[in-house]
Amino acid sequence: MTVAIIQFGGSNCDNDVLHVLQDVLGIDAELVWYKEEKLDDYEAAVIPGGFSYGDYLRSGAIASRTPIMDAVRKMADNGKPVMGICNGFQILTESGLLEGALTTNSYPKFKCEWSYLRVENTNTPFTSMYEKGQVIRIPIAHKDGKYYHDDPSLQQLEDNNQVVFRYVDENGNPTEAVNPNGSRHNIAGITNKTGNVLGMMPHPERASETIMGADDGLLMFKSMIESGRK
């Protein structure tokens, strides 16, 4: 299978994701510049982190309105795995592929640090290789990562098991103290209703080799590839 890594102007984790897929996992992956309009040849897509369009206007807002996002939407509709990391998550909410919104951190500065996440749902193409309730270590790096969703909808999101990752302490408790950005319900990552579109603020590609501090993120890419092969 071949994974498309979507490159917008200002994407800056594109080569990092490429490195993990290609060099660490030995998977075919290609950088696809945003002016491409077709993604028919790819089995999965990753929208990497960065500052598409400099975060001007609103994080992810401009990228979400580019033609390539129609092609991403088509992949999502066809059930192919689509993963948005950090700015990729922001682009997915801006484009309506995921619910809710990402707003400025409660302490309104950029924050780069390691966080613990609890895997809430293993029934997705991205988490099938984890165990439910497993606590993993993955770093965050963002200024606009506070997940917000309206009240009845947020409960529906929970009820549908669309919350995939939550910020927790090392023992797996989602406390206020370890919520790095003020996200509602300590939410770090969600999927769409069908589970094949994932958005998350933490960076699994930065936790995919032990030399970088942890390789807990690698299973996410492996899970995605496994499911893409099916």
């Binding site: 200002g10 800056n12 500052f51 369009y53 400099g54 975060d55 500065k109 950029f110 960076h203």
Partner: protein, 714 residues
């Protein structure tokens, strides 16, 4: 206005009176900032060559061989005055400028470091400058995806009214794809790509070459550039794509003195002339005249020399990346800098006169006399003294700062910030280690020893991680060189740095000089600040010792000799006697200590290692006590020193090593002075000095070290 003497030389060489546009070009290119007029003779004392140096000073950035066909690009710059006037944009564009210098060599920027110097955080203005300078660096670096992996934040009264923002950038390139700023061939086209040109940053080079006045905020705002990191990121990718394609013949970023600077310097390096058609420059504002177009320091612009047949390729590439691109001129055989605007010739200047004609000179110097403070009385409560030193903003944890930097993007950052030096993997297990900064208080009391100590301390930061220094870049920040005692500081700090560089075999491959750092508002000159950035190589990034103790029961070895050297120390400063005592002298066997440490660390028997410097042994021990405590007895090394001297002296060439195998480590250290001073374990730091006992809990250490974060989060 051009100084009378300069105008005389120009008239004589040109055989005529230069017109207004020409005079403006000279004013900026002959500025201290661009021409190193009063520093060039002194900078000659640096050794700039070495086995690994491919390109030394003089190009956009230096190039050092890493191996396996890879080279490192290295550059350092200051953006001091703009950061005072507009802290966010000033510091942001400081990052942008040095990053473009790296790109211009055909290298991908892979790491940044930022040594910063501020007034104390007890006034709203200093807090404002601090907060927004950090935010500017983060805002720019994060957006372009280049991690800030190390820095320094130093606080002293004498930076109020003139904070310093220095930035080091490291790039990575294939040796066979290197590009320089030397123009190659007459007839080749000059393509300008990037942002449009506006009136921002007019006369920045000359603004940087005078003192900061009280009204600088209002008057000099037009000299400040506004950063656009998004465009910079596109420019990075465009440049690397064009370089990989092999079409770029030469390249220069537009920095000080704008288009006039970059275009004339490129051509001059290639012994060619250049003809610019200013009308072709994409402009942001209507009605700009030729002088404004040529001198504006609008950011995010790069000049490329390409062969005529590759012009279309470059313009298409610009279109791919949604950037402005225009052919604005060509290289000529006739060695003149000519600018045409609205069908009229605006300048016709002999190119070498413009780029190299500024007379340089050594200025008069007289020793700077420091009024000595009395030596403070004994501390009384030693434990409180330790906690006070830890909680001083100079010593405190900088996590509030580095948390705002995306220090992990590009997934090379092996050691997280806060340790001695950054560790970045390059290929497989091979990597580099980076350190930066200087000690301004030592340098103030003794410029020569301060300059020397600057490199000794940075080399130790690398050595304790097994890193051997490859090259250094400097940023020499001083006051007004027209004052003989300031010039004396400048001269002796350079001499000290140059001697240490020779002794440690680390060539000085590039840098920047920032003079006139004085504040009219506070009637102060900055402390002499010879900041440097050093890059070293690490054989195995996965085998680098931690900076904190990792387990109980390990022997702790103190390497080096502790002497009663409290002059310029953090401890004396906190006791209100910053100018008491004598500063640490770099030991005669410094090179041997560094080399021995490198060998010892690389042998793999050391679990944790940390350099001992600012704050002395007490601070170094506390910093290692993150999760595991330690019990040490310093009586054996006490000699006739007081407890304060033992704990807080900042003697150079010292390190702490923790190991399970002290005999093996001791054997590796050989005849380098070292002694086992204690054993790790427990949940506190326990120090015995003669008949005094100090115990500090890990929580107390953590709490003291959190002082800066606490202040900023309140």
């Amino acid at each position: 206005m051009l100084p009378e003497d300069d105008l005389k030389i120009i008239v004589e060489k040109m055989g005529r009176q230069p017109n207004n546009v020409e005079q403006g070009c000279f004013l900026n290119l002959w500025s201290e900032h661009c021409s190193y007029r009063s520093s060039a003779p002194l900078l000659k004392s640096f050794t700039t060559t070495g086995d690994r140096v491919i390109i030394g000073p003089g190009d956009d950035a230096a190039i050092v061989r890493f191996g396996d066909g890879w080279v490192l690009a290295l550059g350092m710059e200051s953006h001091n005055h703009p950061s005072y006037v507009d802290p966010y944009n000033g510091s942001a564009t400081g990052v942008g400028g040095i990053v473009r210098d790296i790109i211009s060599m055909g290298a991908r920027p892979i790491a940044l470091m930022d040594p910063l110097y501020f007034g104390p955080l007890n006034t709203p203005k200093n807090l404002y400058l601090f907060e927004h300078i950090i935010e500017g660096i983060g805002g720019y670096g994060n957006c372009i995806g280049v991690p800030v992996v190390r820095g320094e934040a130093f606080f002293d009264e004498r930076y109020s009214g003139n904070p310093l923002v220095n930035v080091v950038c490291v790039g990575l390139a294939r040796q066979d794809q290197l590009v320089t700023a030397t123009a190659q061939k007459a007839g080749n086209k000059i393509v300008l790509i990037g942002s449009t040109t506006g009136r921002d940053g007019l006369g920045g080079a000359s603004f940087a070459s005078r003192d900061l006045s009280e009204s600088a905020e209002a008057e000099d705002r037009p000299s400040i550039q506004i950063g656009d990191p998004f465009t910079e990121k596109l420019l990075i990718e465009l440049s690397l794509e064009a370089v990989a394609e092999g079409v770029v013949k030469s390249c220069r970023d537009l920095g000080a003195a704008g288009l006039a600077g970059a275009s004339s310097e490129m051509a001059s390096k290639g012994n060619l002339g250049i003809h610019i058609i200013a009308d072709e420059v994409p402009q942001r504002e209507a009605g700009m005249n030729a002088f404004e177009i040529m001198i504006a320091e609008s950011q995010e612009r790069i000049l490329f020399e390409v062969e005529p047949e590759n012009v279309d390729y470059m313009l298409q590439l610009a279109e791919k990346y949604d950037l402005n691109g225009a052919v604005i001129g060509e290289l000529t055989e006739r060695p003149y800098f000519t600018v045409e605007f609205e069908d009229k010739t605006e300048t016709d200047i002999p190119i070498h006169l413009l780029t190299e004609g500024a007379p340089t000179f050594e200025r008069p110097s007289t020793p700077f006399t420091v009024k000595k403070d009395p030596v403070p009385d004994a501390a009384g409560d030693l434990k409180q003294a330790v906690l006070d030193v830890l909680a001083s903003h100079n010593m405190a944890s900088k996590d509030w700062i580095y948390r705002q930097y995306d220090h992990e993007v590009q997934i090379r950052t092996v050691a997280k910030p806060g340790g001695d030096s950054a560790i970045q993997r390059i290929i497989g297990d091979r990597g580099i280690t980076l350190s930066c900064g200087c000690n301004p208080r030592h340098t103030y009391l003794d410029p020569y020893e301060g300059g020397k100590g600057t490199l000794a301390e940075n080399a130790m930061n690398l050595a304790v991680k097994g890193g051997r220094g490859l090259a250094l870049v400097d940023c020499l920040n001083f006051g007004n060189p027209e004052k003989p005692d300031i010039y004396w500081q400048f001269k002796y700090a350079i001499n000290g740095l140059a001697d240490a560089a020779r002794d440690l075999s680390i060539p000085v491959v590039g840098g920047n000089v920032s003079l006139y750092n004085e504040s009219e508002e506070h009637h102060t000159a900055i402390l002499p600040t010879p900041a440097i950035g050093v890059v070293g190589e690490v054989e195995n990034v996965s085998a680098v010792p931690s900076s904190e103790f990792t387990g109980a029961g390990q022997s702790v070895i103190l390497v080096g000799t502790t002497k009663a050297e409290l002059g310029g120390s953090e401890y004396y400063n906190l006791r209100g006697s910053p100018n008491a005592g004598d500063v640490p002298q770099v030991p005669a066997d410094m090179a041997a200590i560094v080399e021995s440490l490198i060998t010892t660390i690389r042998a793999g028997k050391v679990a944790a290692s940390h350099d001992v410097s600012q704050g002395g042994l007490a601070a170094a021990l506390c910093e290692m006590c993150g999760y595991v405590g330690v019990k040490v007895n310093l009586s054996e090394i006490a000699g006739d020193m007081s407890a304060e001297e033992l704990l807080f002296s900042e003697s150079h060439g010292r390190a702490l090593l923790a190991t399970d195998d002290p005999d093996a480590v001791s054997a590796q250290l050989g005849n380098i002075p070292h002694v086992v001073i204690g054993t790790t374990g427990g949940s506190s730091l326990r120090i015995t000095v003669s008949n005094e006992h100090i115990e500090v809990d890990l929580d107390e250490i953590k709490n003291a070290r959190a002082s800066l974060t606490r202040l900023m989060m309140e």
